[in-house]
């Protein structure tokens, strides 16, 4: 089957070789261009220079703080914005899934607000809450809120009808229905939504800090940009990528854990 030959798994040594070739090609080309002098080191530092710059940023403060301190203030803002989005989005989503009237009333407003890119809230964020904590938190909230709400809502809508009927028959109040039937039944959907929220929130944080902040990794990158220090900008990109990856990995682990436990309970 000639057409399928491309799909057959590769022998291990070949796969490893190609992996190394890909990575080597990327870093090799980068180093080569940087060292050739065709582009000045200010615009394209060698990979090694970026690593050195990272060490410098970790030891000596840049625009007021070391890179760890910038990272801490970014993460603080992030947790505040993401926490708010989860605390408001999940209960509201569940309630919209239960009360038909609330669903009809909130949905058009929610859709209208969701249409606007989170980053477009930057001017109001700066005007209402300033550039310290409040402004960036609003933007993170705007990024993280919609998936939190939507997935809680969908989770509540797709609860098995027999669970709802049983709850009703046993005389559960609306509050108990939401907290003791809908919430536990929609946990997988909620967690999946929070994972999307977390990713979008982290992206929005970066955007917010590029524009309305006076500390944080995004701020460090903007200052590196105005100082035309490509190495500083790249250090910021690496830090953002690593933390974003770690957040996603953590939530993936939580998701897997929940699925495993659910599997056991079902049996």
């Amino acid at each position: 089957m000639s057409a399928r030959s491309g799909q057959a798994p590769l022998p291990r040594f070949e796969a490893t070789g190609l992996w190394l070739a890909g990575l080597g090609g990327f870093f090799g080309l980068w180093t080569l261009v940087a060292l050739s002098g065709a582009v000045s080191a200010q615009f394209l530092p060698s990979p090694w220079a970026v690593v050195e710059r990272f060490g410098e940023l970790a030891r000596t403060p840049f625009v007021g703080h070391t890179i760890q301190e910038h990272l801490v203030s970014s993460i603080g803002r992030y947790l505040a914005g993401f926490g708010l989005a989860a605390m408001i989005g999940v209960p509201l989503g569940l309630m919209m899934g239960w009360f038909r009237g609330l669903d009809d009333a909130v949905t058009p407003l929610f859709e209208a607000i969701r249409f606007v890119a989170p980053i477009a809230w930057v001017p109001f964020a700066a005007l209402w809450f300033g550039t310290g904590i409040g402004g960036p938190v609003l933007i993170i909230f705007m990024g993280a809120f919609p998936p939190a709400l939507i997935n809680a809502y969908r989770g509540a809508k797709f609860v098995e009808p027999r669970l709802i009927e049983a709850g009703r028959m046993l005389g559960a109040s609306d509050l108990r229905m939401i907290t003791q039937v809908l919430l536990p039944a929609s946990v997988p959907s909620i967690v999946a939504g929070l994972r999307i929220s977390a990713g979008l929130g982290w992206q929005s944080l970066v955007g917010a800090e590029l524009i309305v902040a006076s500390s944080g990794i995004g701020y460090l990158m903007v200052k590196g940009q105005s100082a035309i220090s490509t190495a500083t900008v790249m250090c910021g990109m690496i830090a953002i990528g690593v933390v974003g990856y770690a957040i996603d990995a953590l939530l993936r682990a939580v998701e897997a854990h929940i699925h495993r436990r659910r599997g056991r309970n079902a049996r």
Partner: protein, 256 residues
Amino acid sequence: MQPGHSAAIGVATVVLALALWALFTTAIPWIDTARFPAPADVWAALTQITVQGYADARLWRHVAQSSVLVLTGFATACTVGVALGLAMGWSRRAEALLNPVFLLLRPIPPLAWIPLAIVWLGLGDAAKVLVIFMAAFVPAVINTYTGVRAMEPQIVEASSMLGARGPRFVREVLVPAAAPHIFTGLRLSLQASWTTLVAAELVGALYGLGQVLNNAAQDIYPGMILVGMVFVGLCGGLMTAVLGWVERRAMPWRAA
């Protein structure tokens, strides 16, 4: 419940929200119009930007600027991204070669490319297109790749038995089979492109909707801020709708 009931409640809420907005900004001034505009301020801002212009140009010029940039970056990224995704999905060799670099770049959020693009290319159009490219590229590759990998082996076997190979195989088997996933990727790409462009224009630009927002923020002009936000939403929504239309035209076999 009657069919029109939900819609009626929806319309009623929107009307109520608009009425409350008008009430609390004008008759009972609980909301400070220096922080959130009254309806009249928004109308004034809208006429100003359409008739005299604001931030160095009229509204249509800003909208055209932003839209052309998004479409340029998006189209480039999708062409490269879909091709790369097809290659990585089809050939294990291509996947092994390209995946490590891709995995390295993937966790970097699109917005984080903005400062680098500005250092390299300045505040002009080229930097914007680079940033949009980075935003749109990743979802296009991932989803195309997933689409190819999700293909049923029977389709591949049948087409190879019938002698489809080379470009004809790509055009008539691979792309249509992966099309639903490809379009999912394109939709995500388009949304990411638009958000990223607005952010890039907020960081620095000469024209564009982000520049309108930026100027309005500096002038503390809430009416214009809201006008800018509404048009960011409208343009984004319109582009997604057009893509949805293309999707339905491109895959008539999926129509309900």
